[in-house]
Amino acid sequence: MNLSAELVNFAYIISAALFILGLKMLGHPDSARRGNLYSAVGMALAIIVTLLADSIVSFEVIALATLGGTVVGALAARLVAMTSMPEMVALFNGSGGAASLLVGWAALYDEILGTSAPSTFILVTIILSILIGGVTASGSLIAYAKLAERMTTAAIVFPGQRVVNSLILVGIVGSSVMFCLEPALGSQWFWVLLALSLVLGVMAVIPIGGADMPVVISLLNSYSGLAACAAGFAIGNNLLIVAGSLVGASGIILTNIMCKAMNRSLANVLFSGFGAAKAATKVEGEVKPIVADDAFLILEAAQSVTFVPGYGMAVAQAQHVVRELGELLEKNGAEVNFAIHPVAGRMPGHMNVLLAEANVSYEQLVEMDDINPRLPNTDVVVVIGANDVVNPAAREDENSPIYGMPIINVDHARTVFVLKRSMGSGFSGVDNPLFFKENTRMLFGDAKQSISALVAEFKS
């Protein structure tokens, strides 16, 4: 049965619609599994109609390769331990990249051996497909190795890294140009390009630490979408373009979201290989503000959250929204505490009055001495309009007027959000070095409004 190109393409439209639906549904916990199924159906449809199209004449190689791929893929997916999923995804992604590279390479044969001379546009798309495919393939392999701890998970940095990387880039651009000018099957420029693409993938991933790998995989995933898209241009296939660009765009967004959840910027990851050596020396005394959107992502990923309320919570009358945020966090699976400093507020028991009014249960209130040993294992501390009671100067600065006062050591937690309206000081008028610490983020604004914004994020 041979389908006309029109029919095939209409089937592709349906496939594309199924991919779109699938992606949409993957974003909601309730529908995610069904979404994956939809997308798989779309894929199956696309493959079937492609096989039935009249452009395919021999099936032996296809059958063999498909069988092999299916067995490998299925076994890998089945047998891998639940905990090794991420590295498995990296490997799959890498094979997708390899496939794009090979498709581009094969297209090169068709084009160059074809009737007319290949247009530059086609050549460029082919080169892109090979380049991005190559980067994805080798990069994913490295990511896999890091995640599976087959190599050091630490960032690999060496002097002159930036120079080397720049040289590689120059080499890629140069060989691409040369190849376009003189496209030939055995061209040495082609081999240079191929090799450099693979090397670039390796170089891009090695300077990134193991903890950042999920972000890298997400990014490589986005790349593999772009590679498919480029391949689509190269061989004139709409579905490759649609599906590829969908994956490319959504992958970038997802990467961005994941970056935020890890409290890093996308640029930081994108160019980490070229700036990692520099990033180590941070300016002391820099204030890092954060907006509610980003704070939400970090809170959402947190396993343990401790609130430290102070006078500012009372001024903002934020106790009700704070309790609500606490409930939402608990529903999200986090352990939530309220650490009460004895002198927080403006009268003894000020925080107790407010939190009781908001119906925070007594069980969640923790005294300073009990919370301090637990803070180093706390993911996020949210300081709500407190200042003096979390001022590390009381611990560190012998000249401070509050030196010696026991404080809540929020700076020992993994991440600290400080919610206040300005950089102003508290009752005692003492400046607070907490605001400048590496792991502190300032969420400026009225505490009630800031917390409400976080609550809104949780509910949407």
Partner: protein, 375 residues
């Protein structure tokens, strides 16, 4: 029709059965109101206020009672007062009809139509006339205030520079109207509140106020169709005592409000349980007037048992006499209003009516209430 309101005579009774605001409404309905001089003074309502509202002040109690077609008061009348009533008059007040058979007979003999306010049914419709509810509600609030004054601790939790004060633990036995209000008030003040009641439906009500309900398996308990508790069997009562022991020992404040309608209050907290409490803690026995839930409680006294104070103050609503009078008065007004025939200018004494059937005790020289007649 003339309404007569005598001054309460029982010592310590500060409430007024009718407040000026209700007088005004009654006058508007077309009724005449006469009140005994200084009737509302103790509750904070001056004679002038009554006059302003449209009442007549009468200093001669005998004349007042003799002339009235309807007498409104809080406590049951003395025999002397009954003697002064005119035959055919109506009389609405608390009567304690289960225990005052003599008084009932006297009223019947005198030909008075006596309404016992405690017999108003506990239906949704009659709730506005229900003085037991309205007064118990205030009493529940007062119990907590009494406990808070007597105990040498504060109720709320406070984390202060001088250490953390843990919240007072309050345990409330009997979560009817008064018990629920006590729960709410203690919760408001910041205490940690547990409660217990024999009626199973109450658990949800207690939780609806944010307090904990103490689960004790007593077997079948249930409630009457009026919503009152049934009396427990002695075995059940024993089980209950056992189950509550730990809760009482832990508590800083125990408030008991357990009542069984028409019977003496159940004795729930024994001397052993009192002894188990920390010196300095406080028990408020709200049922002290009907026999007491707590062993050793005495009406009108604060008994100190090894440092545990048992407060047995009676007539708790009088402690907030102004509000209590307002509520009692509104209940009486609602009763009159419900059955007042504005055109005929008369009280529609329909003894078939659900409400009147249960609260009118005597009429036309006889006891007409089934429950009381067959007591």
């Amino acid at each position: 029709m003339l309404i007569g309101v005598p001054k309460e005579t029982i010592a310590g009774e500060l409430r007024a059965p009718l407040v000026p605001a209700s007088v005004k409404k009654l006058v508007k309905l077309g009724l005449e109101v006469a009140v005994e001089a200084s009737m509302g003074e103790a509750a904070g309502f001056s004679d002038e206020a009554y006059v302003e509202a449209g009442a007549r002040i009468e200093s001669d109690r005998a004349a007042l009672l003799g002339a009235a077609d309807l007498v409104l008061r809080i406590r049951k009348p003395s025999d002397d007062d009954v003697a002064l009533l005119k035959s055919g008059a109506m009389h609405a007040s608390l009567l304690d009809p289960f225990n005052e058979r003599g008084l009932i007979d006297t009223l019947a003999a005198k030909g008075v139509t006596a309404i016992s306010m405690e017999m108003v049914p506990r239906s949704t419709r009659a709730q506005k006339m229900d003085v037991l509810s309205s007064q118990a509600n205030l009493a529940g609030y007062v119990t907590v205030m009494l406990a808070a004054r007597q105990i040498n601790k504060i109720f709320p939790m406070m984390m202060t520079p001088a250490g953390t004060i843990s919240p007072a633990r309050v345990f409330i036995i009997g979560a009817g109207v008064a018990g629920l209000q006590a729960i709410a008030t203690a919760k408001r003040l910041g205490a940690r509140v547990d409660a217990f009641d024999t009626r199973p439906v109450v658990a949800e009500q207690v939780q609806s106020l944010g307090a904990k309900f103490l689960e004790i398996d007593l077997g079948d308990t249930g409630q009457t169709d009026q919503g009152y508790a049934r009396e427990l069997t002695p075995e059940q009562l024993e089980k209950q005592r056992e189950g509550m022991k730990a809760a009482i020992a832990q508590a800083d404040v125990v408030i008991t409000t357990a009542q069984v309608f028409g019977r003496p209050a159940p004795r729930i907290v024994g001397a052993d349980m009192v002894a188990g409490m920390r010196p300095g803690s406080v028990i408020v026995d709200m049922a002290v007037e009907t026999g007491g839930n707590v062993e050793g409680s005495k009406v009108g006294e604060v008994v100190d048992v090894n440092g545990v104070k048992i407060i047995g103050l009676g007539n708790l609503p009088s402690e907030v006499a102004q509000n209590a009078s307002e509520m009692f008065s509104a209940n009486l007004f609602n009763l009159v209003d419900e059955f007042w025939d504005a055109e005929g200018k008369s009280f529609g004494l329909d003894l078939e009516d659900d409400i009147l059937k249960s609260c009118v005790i005597t009429h036309d020289g006889a006891i007409v209430n089934e429950t009381i007649k067959n007591l």
